[in-house]
Point group: C2
Chain length 307, copies 2
Amino acid sequence: MEEIKVFCPATIANVSCGFDVLGLALDAVGDEMIVRKVPEKGIHITKIKGQDLPLAADKNVAGVAGLALLEQSGYSGGFEIEIDKRIKPGSGIGSSAASSAGAVWAMNELLGRPFSNLELVKFAMQGEKLASDVAHADNVAPAIYGGFTLVRSYDPLDIVTIPTPPELYATVIHPQIEIKTSDSRKILKSTIPMEKGIRQWGNLGGLIAGLFQNDYDLIGRSLEDHIVEPIRSILIPGFDNIKANALKADALGGGISGSGPSIFALSKGKETAEKVAQSMRETYQKVGIPFDIHVSKINAQGVKPIV
Amino acid sequence: MEEIKVFCPATIANVSCGFDVLGLALDAVGDEMIVRKVPEKGIHITKIKGQDLPLAADKNVAGVAGLALLEQSGYSGGFEIEIDKRIKPGSGIGSSAASSAGAVWAMNELLGRPFSNLELVKFAMQGEKLASDVAHADNVAPAIYGGFTLVRSYDPLDIVTIPTPPELYATVIHPQIEIKTSDSRKILKSTIPMEKGIRQWGNLGGLIAGLFQNDYDLIGRSLEDHIVEPIRSILIPGFDNIKANALKADALGGGISGSGPSIFALSKGKETAEKVAQSMRETYQKVGIPFDIHVSKINAQGVKPIV
């Protein structure tokens, strides 16, 4: 195989009580990317559609992730990349992660899969480092593994895949305002009350158990974050109303996607997820900020070829 | 049925990263209790073997838990209780919880099971309140449900049962020193660093996933507590050596049982758990404090009839 076209999923990181550890991959929104083997060494980004992003490999997240893989591969040639950038940067649904993950996943396919998913995550994390100064894994892990992933540890990197209940859908609203990841980091406190910590790990335990057992009610009860959401949600106009109305529309629960501004809700069944989308639409039209809404099944596969 | 004899399991609460939420039931150590229906109203503790504990129902944890059940039951008679107290109070393996849980479980059987396990936990929590001023559920829940239980929330009370991997064994050493639960509470800090909180919920997520998947290595990697263990272990002579040597003897991991002084390790297979017991024995003989050691399968059933 000399060329592959792939779908690079958007992802939700910081899934409620899983702040900094739990992420999931979406199916209805993502970038598309064509990667082809070329004799010239290095990564050559030849085309980026949809966004004004640098073509220079060392300034582009897909390029940086790809170079990290190339360096370990022993492959004497290079790769050309064309990116159709459909996820808006800064939206909070893993725009940079999609490009980083897609690039290394596609290259691995073209080289005959010499690398494990864990190694691919490590390469893609280099793209994340370029994007936000932190080599975090909570978006690239679900983008590569698919479904829900837990980053249990960074040293050593330990990614745990969590099963995806078959009827679980996400609804995501992206208010078109800018929140810088670095700013939304800064407003977090460096210490938390023990009592809130206990509630958080109790809820994360419940959420993981709910995902393993397809127990949608338990998933819903566990989607509580008393630590980060109360602080960061202040930066997102209309957050409280969006969330309250999503719950009224029968969402299981929800929260801030990544570091915002996107807000997500999880629901049992597509019909409910659409109803939640409608409630978000009605709520946000009153806020007066432009927005996009996505309804998506959880993507259990991660990056995948487009045939 | 007018009379029942039950085994009331010892339990390990605060299972490592599951501080205040995760507990498990043991099989090889527990109290025995005979409960019988009598026409006289109230709870009548007629005999306590093995420990010097009050017979007055309102001063005994089994009595208080039983009275809470009686009040809700509509039953016009009462119960007689004989307790063979084999778990030493203050050992950190749920001595009071075993009595509270055993009493209400047995009464529920004799009344034809009018109450759910969740209701039984609520009654038994009244016994815990008498014992330690706090109506905590992390020992009585595994004693009643069996296996691993997660107390996701207290308000409302939400107990999540977690499956027990078939080859999982616990080794517990009880150094015969006294640590008051109230003292071991006092030395804990009321705030924790966010970064340690994130590691804790990452580990708890990994532990729950490991238990669901019978992934013993993941269970072992996740048995890390960077928050409570470093502080409380100071109160337990020889803790660091016991733990280090247990790991050398192939234990998956371990920590403080409850608020101590008991120390537990989890292992894959009975043979390894016995080897861990031997390493604990050798380590503690040098400390010079008397001790008991128990090796036990995880008790997936909880309180059970003795026939």
